[in-house]
Symmetry: C2
Subunit: 261 residues, 2 copies
């Protein structure tokens, strides 16, 4: 299972430019032999667009997903991508898994971050979905979600072997710590892979931390992008390669949930 995390430039100006860039990145991902390409949070609109994002939110069978399905089918690469979705007139900060065969599943972000997101979106209230693809079981989270250990644990206890995380991590000391320490620890403490795809550069409202990464079950970073600039980083997720780490760090089997809390 080969996976890429796509660090996108925040400067891209509109949905058309972004969908074209996404198609181009998927072409690159295909040339690297990728099975899945993971894109940032709100990758189709940009994260910092403000109120306009709500107007751009589409239903799951809308034109943005239709174009992404066509891209996935054309290149034979599955996509995990952040975008605004609307259900019953309500906008969510969502992400979708889109397979080349047209399968789609989506997740609405539970842990909205700050006043900016809370003004734009309603928080999701359903459990993040798991999906099986090419012999591995995956879970989805978005940005702030993954900073809460409870959210990753929930997916790992339900059988996720890799957690795929579109993000829009802003540039700050905390941002650097999250990308270089929190993400590897989430992988280690659950003995799973974590794939974290961020924006880089700046839009009208925010600057982003870059540092997209792919962390292994033993906490090692298999790949990490720079702070600045677009990047397509790549790693092989070899789920059989970490038996010694799982034996030494048996957090899922040893967790005593109902004691002392």
């Amino acid at each position: 299972m080969k996976i890429v995390a796509c660090q996108m430039p925040a400067e891209l100006e509109d949905v058309d430019a972004r969908l074209a860039a996404i198609a181009d990145i998927v072409r690159q991902a295909r040339s690297k032999g990728a099975d899945i390409a993971v894109f940032p949070e709100l990758a189709t609109t940009g994260y910092g667009l403000g109120d306009e994002i709500r107007a751009l939110a589409e239903p799951i069978d809308g034109p943005a997903i239709a174009r992404l399905k066509a891209v996935s089918a054309e290149f034979g690469v599955a996509l995990v991508i952040g975008l605004p979705l609307v259900e019953d007139g309500i906008a969510y900060n969502s992400c979708a898994f889109i397979a080349p065969d047209g399968t789609v599943s989506s997740y609405n972000k539970i842990q909205l971050y700050g006043d900016y997101e809370k003004a734009l979106f309603r928080p999701g209230c359903g459990a993040p979905p798991l999906f099986d693809y090419k012999g591995m079981r995956f879970g989805l989270l978005i940005c702030f979600d993954v900073e809460f250990p409870e959210r990753v644990r929930d997916l790992a206890l339900r059988g996720a072997e890799a957690i795929l995380v579109p993000t829009a991590l802003p540039q700050s000391d905390g941002g650097r710590f999250i990308a270089t320490s929190v993400i590897p620890v989430r992988a280690f403490e659950n003995q799973v892979f974590v794939v974290y795809a961020n924006h880089a550069g700046s839009d009208a409202r925010f600057s982003y931390q870059g540092l997209s990464c792919i962390a292994a079950p033993d906490g090692a970073l298999l790949a990490q992008a720079a702070e600045a600039g677009p990047a397509v980083i790549c790693a092989e997720l070899d789920k059989g390669a970490y038996d010694a780490s799982r034996e030494q760090n048996p957090y899922l089997s040893e967790l005593r949930l109902h004691t002392g809390g």
Copy 2:
């Protein structure tokens, strides 16, 4: 609030030698102006002593605690120290908080690690205690406990501002990752201090990682010992200095526990 973490040499041969070394370290801690000195897991007996540890387990009003109370009172420094305690004939891997005024509270390790500990001890089943000392609220955990985010979250949600952790972390790649990445992340994701006191060197059974540390709510390491050799590391826990970090990383107030799990 000034705190020290005491990294003890694993080679010390018996309880008398260890209690003498502990008294000497508390004298050093006093000279640094420390309010609390944190010692490793099973610091009074050594961690690797095997079956003998069960024979050395004492009740909370036994002679080891009595000597430690005298040391705390003599130097005016509170102690947090790992030692084997016995209750109703059952041995636990415990730690005690001992104040200069003779106050004692204790905790029995919930997350026993591996066959070695499980053969020696029964796991604790009570919630770890909180205690207030000189204007701060503290929680206790032992070694493997702190590697589970659930255990630290429980204490933080109950109001702990600093988590004090006697440990016996063995030397390994995982050990290095735990001391340098997992501990700072536990501090950051709860916006609390974590004080982690380990052994260094080797006893008859195990080699230890050293790297005792004091982590701040923003994930910074305020102090970290070397991998080898004894050390007394020191930091001021200034709980008012991290308001900006708490505002940017509001994990305790934003956690949506009952959604999507």
